[in-house]
């Protein structure tokens, strides 16, 4: 076979390989080429963060509006302090909204659902959620029920 044809075919093979890697990156692992976009950070203190994990979903009315950045222990109150990055597009969340930890499906991942408040002020960067509701712990619920508390 002519050297040139071989070169072209090998070139196509290399392109196919890198294209496949690109498919794995974009389509399979959901890597996004566009920058993450502007976000602002708010905080929520939970008595029990359950199985929340960084990069977890934060949603409002079922629509994802942000991601969990990290989860630390607040050394003063001994509560879990969750830093949440919210898309700058959703900048007018009422300040008296509450953050609730919910589970998707029966056994799915836990995520934070924001229940909209009625106030006129909105949350700004660095604010804390006024009210939070911790993860539902089935075991604790059964214990409470059994001991009648």
């Amino acid at each position: 076979m002519a050297q040139r044809t071989t070169e072209i075919i090998v070139g196509l093979f290399m392109i196919a390989g890198f294209a496949a890697l690109l498919v794995l990156a974009l389509q399979v692992s959901g890597l996004s080429l566009k920058p993450a976009g502007d976000t602002y950070t708010v905080y929520a203190d939970f008595n029990d963060a359950g199985n929340l994990a960084p990069r977890g979903k934060v949603s409002m009315a079922g629509v994802t509006i942000g991601r969990i950045r990290d989860i630390t222990l607040n050394p003063e109150t001994f509560q879990a302090r969750v830093a949440i990055d919210i898309d700058a597009a959703y900048s007018s969340i009422p300040a008296d909204s509450s953050a609730v930890i919910r589970t998707s499906g029966l056994l799915g991942d836990q995520y934070i659902d924001i229940s909209v408040g009625a106030g006129t002020d909105s949350l700004s960067a660095g604010d804390d959620f006024y009210e939070t509701q911790s993860a539902m712990n089935l075991e604790r619920m059964i214990t409470n029920f059994a001991t009648g508390r």
């Binding site: 071989t6 090998v10 093979f13 290399m14 196919a16 496949a20 794995l24 399979v28 692992s29 959901g30």
Partner: protein, 260 residues
């Protein structure tokens, strides 16, 4: 009794000797970078015969393995009512394990054995020694392009294998068994991480490419220059490559995903 002990010692010495020879051989191949003007066409020819010609077997096996994964996953997952997780299962299995490992095994059988037989026959027909007589280093002219071609091709083939396999899994899961397509992709995207899963799979296939090509060219270069010698060298290439791939895969998996 004494004879068997002596044989054990002899075999041990032979094994250590060939290990040492393969080490120095590898060093000379890696160091002996040929002149790019001469070397590039040689490398491209080898990339064609090692990489491009292996594409068909890799694509076909990838497609069928993906389809089998989709089918098996569906049967198990539908018992729990979570057949949407099929995308995540197929993608993680392929990207982390089956892509690199099965491609390396196919590569050892399809391309590695051919490399060994070709170099072995060149040695048996004294083409290698005539090259030396003419002042051409056979390691640079014959061995190095083949080694590099294998080393470059295998990761590319492994990535193609994974993509085709995922597509095959989607074909069975979504088109045939009726899993919801949006859930298929979104489950996959939320659980597959690019750095943790995809890149670790690529690293695995790079390691396998190095080891398989090394074994193949060394067995050819080191074979006994007779027809029986070439046949046993070809067998050794496939056996050693397969064992090395499976053993290294366990070690790499333990390092990458075992949490050490």
């Amino acid at each position: 009794m004494m004879e068997s002990i002596a044989r054990l010692g002899r075999n041990g010495l032979t094994a250590i000797g060939s290990l040492g020879r393969s080490g120095t051989f590898l060093w000379r191949v890696l160091v002996g970078v040929p002149n790019p003007r001469v070397g590039t066409p040689l490398l491209i020819r080898q990339l064609y015969s090692v990489g491009v010609l292996s594409l068909v077997i890799v694509v076909v096996s990838g497609l069928f393995i993906g389809m089998v994964l989709g089918l098996q996953g569906y049967t198990i997952l539908s018992d729990f009512g979570s057949e949407q997780a099929i995308g995540q299962m197929v993608a993680l299995t392929l990207v982390r394990e089956l892509g690199p490992v099965v491609t390396a095994l196919l590569f050892a059988g399809r391309a590695g054995s051919a490399l060994t037989a070709e170099i072995g026959l060149m040695k048996a027909t004294e083409q290698l020694s005539s090259m030396e007589m003419m002042g051409v280093d056979p390691l640079r002219r014959v061995v190095a392009p083949r080694f590099w071609a294998g080393f470059i091709s295998l990761p590319l083939l492994a990535v193609i294998f994974s993509v085709v396999g995922i597509w095959g899994g989607m074909l069975v899961g979504v088109e045939w068994l009726g899993v919801f397509e949006g859930a298929f992709w979104s489950n996959m995207q939320s659980s597959v991480s690019f750095t943790e899963d995809v890149m670790n799979g690529v690293i695995k296939s790079v390691v396998f490419g190095f080891v398989c090509s090394w074994i193949a060219v060394f067995q050819g270069y080191d074979c006994v220059p007779t027809s029986a010698g070439i046949s046993s060298a070809t067998t050794k290439t496939v056996v050693y490559s397969s064992l090395a791939v499976l053993g290294l895969d366990f070690i790499l998996t333990a390092v990458m995903f075992g949490g050490f």
